[in-house]
């Protein structure tokens, strides 16, 4: 009992990691925002890149007068700068797409469960349809018909991701709709949207909240894959995901730094998003909020 109370009261619930993860995530966001100011090089400006210094190992001094702390990639871009600049796009693309996809997916899933009947059938068949459509195909169609652009990639990612949320949340919401607090809400003159968003959704959302950070990670990876196929961000302005995907080819070569450092930056980013997400999920549960 005593140990339990110390656990509950003494420290933040999960020890220092969650706090750390929040700091790390905040640092990522700050670094992304401040990239132009703090990056030694603008990796998107061809004039600042020296092709002959491609694949320099960490510590080499470059013609730009600064040291390549983490080396350069196969085109001569400073890896530190690439990570910083790439973060901006990756964060934008992945967080926006995951957030919008979650919004759409959760709404669709909860509505399907709440209304049932043909609404459910229609939404769920749409989900089936979406799940069987490969992201690459969606991205191809979006980009070929609408032209390239970050918003198109975000669109493709949203289309690719919403269905997962819808399906997961619907399953839980199906059980929840039968409970009498929903009946009570129905009797109150509540707008349907309020029943769905204030009552049903919060009680069905927990597993989806676990999914969101994971899907953010997916979005980064998907965007990287798309970029790799020439369907993502412009090749000369790589996102962090694209930097990692490009670097991937160097994984087994001696030039470990091209792959390793951006990869670690990405793992750190997704891990901290995940940990913060876990914290959010815990706080959403009223039974643990009071602690």
């Amino acid at each position: 009992m005593k140990a339990e109370i110390i656990r509950v009261l003494g420290k933040p619930p999960y020890g220092p990691t969650l706090t750390l993860s929040k700091i790390v995530l905040a640092a990522y966001v700050l670094l992304a925002l401040a990239a132009p100011a703090i990056a030694p090089q603008n990796p998107y400006d061809p004039l600042q890149i020296y092709g002959w210094e491609a694949s320099s190992p960490p510590g080499t001094t470059g013609s730009g007068g600064y040291i390549y702390l983490l080396g350069t990639d196969g085109l001569g871009r400073d890896i530190v700068s690439s990570i910083l600049y790439g973060l901006r796009i990756s964060l934008l693309v992945s967080i926006t797409s995951a957030a919008i996809a979650a919004l759409i997916g959760l709404t669709a899933g909860v509505s399907a469960a709440y209304f049932g009947k043909w609404v459910d059938v229609a939404i769920m068949r749409l989900v089936d349809l979406q799940l069987s459509l490969p992201t690459i195909l969606v991205a191809l169609i979006a980009i070929v018909t609408l032209g390239p652009g970050i918003d198109r990639i975000i669109l493709a990612l949203i289309i690719a991701q919403w269905a997962t949320y819808a399906r997961v949340v619907r399953g839980v919401a199906l059980s929840e709709t039968g409970k009498s607090y929903i009946d009570a809400a129905r009797l109150m003159r509540l707008p349907t949207s309020r029943i769905i968003f204030r009552h049903l959704l919060p009680n069905s959302i927990a597993p989806a909240v676990t999914l969101i950070p994971i899907e953010v990670g997916h979005a980064v990876a998907l965007e990287a894959t798309l970029s790799f196929l020439g369907l993502g961000v412009p090749i000369d302005k790589p996102s962090l995901g694209a930097t990692v995907a490009n670097g991937f080819q160097y994984l087994l070569t001696g030039q470990y730094w091209i792959s390793l450092f951006p990869g670690l930056a990405l793992v750190g980013l997704i891990a901290s998003i995940n940990l913060v997400g876990e914290d959010v999920r815990r706080r959403l549960d009223p039974r643990s909020r009071s602690i």
Binding site: G230, I235, Q249, T253, G254
Partner: protein, 499 residues
């Protein structure tokens, strides 16, 4: 002892006449053979034909090798050659058709005796034997023609080659067994298995762990690590070129604007602009950095030294100041903006090349927005004229074939300019090329081709970038591997290590 090969070439069909792609010909050359063989210097050597002579402008005679048997035991005769030509020319229906151009000029074929073939062409065809270096000879069936479906599914393919077909799973594996009756002596390996592994990383891994003895299309950047882990590496400059091509015909071009973003008239119609850009292109970065040394800077269509190349054309390091001056002289002192398009992941170093070029050109004030697209999208858009400058690749049996396709004025009648998407037209060059092509095989023809090349490259309709190298790695069980500039990967090139 089994030879295991990891290849990037995905064998798509067992019909040797279906599609003219290295993917198919590389693997099928174990089973089938050609009349004429191109050696490592791209010189013609006897294959199933022991000799050939030009009887007249439009007539060729091939003498066939004696005592050659197909793998099913039937003898190889002139009838099989006739059958093969007719199958390609008359029987196969599109979409198959990659080989049609080799035989479409043939008026008639006859077999006066079992070991002689006489070929009559519609017009003068000084390089007909070269065409036969691409055509696999199939045995004539008792009746009719074999269809592609039959070959893929029912009957195992039969040729005269050193290895017999033993099994195939589309896109995955090809199994071969030694043809003990091979006319050229006993082949080195009792059995050969080709595993199609498209991912470079997976090929490298398979070679590293010793799961395969040979792996082709090794990415240059992996060479160092592979050598460290004990693999041996062979490489050769490919008989091909990768280049930048300009649209030199259209009035205006998508994506080409002045520095303030206003559309401008097509600047690439001015040869000075093209030359300035060529001058400002740092090929050294491409070959030394992006291709990690496994590439040769290009200034013409084949690596220097191969037949028809010019020794005077050398790729020079970039001269930014001169280039900038030239650009100013052409009327663009501030430079301009353009979009440079290319396929993604089609050729070694393609995407990176676009960016390296952007880096170079930025130094003379030309701002480049590189865009990479999937190959099919890229092709569709290029065909639709949506690009101003693009990255391309071209390969062929000989320099003249490539000059014809890439730089000669487009002419459907003569079949020239097939790849001249930039619509470059130069009558003087066309004439020089036609004259060179009318000369028969030999140094004189080669010199004429070199002259034509020098002439046209002075106008810079394309900017040749590099000839990448084919890189093959092999393990301990392989004693030696002979590279071929056409980029084939075969068991015939592989000799076992002697214990």
């Amino acid at each position: 002892q089994e030879l295991r090969v990891a290849t990037a070439y995905k064998l798509m069909t067992l019909d040797p006449h279906y599609a003219n792609l290295n993917e198919n010909t590389s693997l099928l050359s174990h089973i089938y053979e050609r009349l004429v063989y191109q050696d490592e210097q791209l010189n013609l050597k006897p294959g199933l034909a022991t000799s050939w002579e030009r009887l007249s402008d439009t007539q060729w005679r091939f003498r066939l090798r004696e005592n050659v048997r197909f793998q099913d035991g039937s003898p190889f005769t002139a009838n099989d050659v006739v059958y093969t030509i007719e199958r390609i020319r008359d029987f196969l229906k599109p979409p198959s058709g990659g080989f049609q151009s080799y035989v479409s000029g043939i008026k008639s074929v006859s077999a006066p005796d079992p070991l002689t073939v006489i070929i009559e062409t519609k017009t003068s065809a000084p390089t007909l034997p070269l065409a036969f270096s691409s055509i696999f000879i199939m045995p004539k069936p008792p009746v009719g023609f074999r269809t592609t479906e039959e070959l893929n599914a029912e009957t195992p393919p039969v040729g005269t080659g050193p290895y017999k077909f033993a099994g195939w799973s589309s896109g995955e594996t090809l199994k071969l067994a030694r043809n003990d009756d091979y006319w050229g002596g006993k082949p080195a390996w009792p059995t050969v298995t080709f595993r199609v592994i498209e991912s470079p990383a997976a090929r490298v891994a398979a070679l590293t762990t010793g799961e395969v003895d040979v792996a082709d299309a090794i990415p240059a950047r992996d060479v160092g690590a592979l050598k460290q882990r004990g693999a041996k590496i062979e490489s050769v400059g490919a008989a091909r070129v990768n280049f930048l091509q300009f649209d030199v015909a259209s009035e205006t071009l998508p994506g080409v604007t002045d520095k303030s973003g206003e559309p401008i008239a097509n600047p690439f119609r001015n040869p000075m602009v093209r030359k300035a850009l060529a001058m400002a292109t740092d090929r050294g970065i491409l070959t030394d950095k992006i291709l990690a040394g496994y590439g040769t800077p290009a200034s013409q269509l084949f690596p220097a030294g191969l037949p028809g190349t010019s020794a005077n054309l050398v790729a020079s390091p970039p001269k930014y100041d001169e280039a900038k001056a030239l650009l100013a002289k052409a009327g663009y002192p501030d430079g301009f903006n353009l979009v440079l398009a290319g396929p993604a992941g089609r050729y070694p170093g393609d995407g990176e090349t676009l960016q390296a070029v952007a880096q170079s050109w930025a130094r003379i004030g030309v701002t480049v927005r590189p865009i990479a697209a999937p190959f099919s999208v890229f092709n569709t858009k290029r065909a639709a004229g949506e690009y101003a400058v693009w990255y391309g690749g071209c390969s062929g049996e000989a320099v003249d074939i490539m000059l014809d396709a890439l730089l000669a004025s487009p002419d459907p009648e003569r079949g020239t300019g097939a790849l001249n998407y930039g619509n470059y037209r130069n009558e003087a060059f066309d004439k020089m090329l036609a004259r060179a092509e009318s000369i028969r095989e030999g140094p004189e023809r080669n010199r004429a081709l070199a002259d034509a090349t020098e002439f046209v490259m002075a106008d810079q309709p394309i900017i040749p970038l590099y000839h990448f190298h084919h890189i093959v790695g092999h393990g301990k069980r392989v004693g030696s591997y002979v590279m071929h500039p056409r980029g084939w990967t075969t068991a015939m090139q592989t000799l076992p290590a002697t214990e």
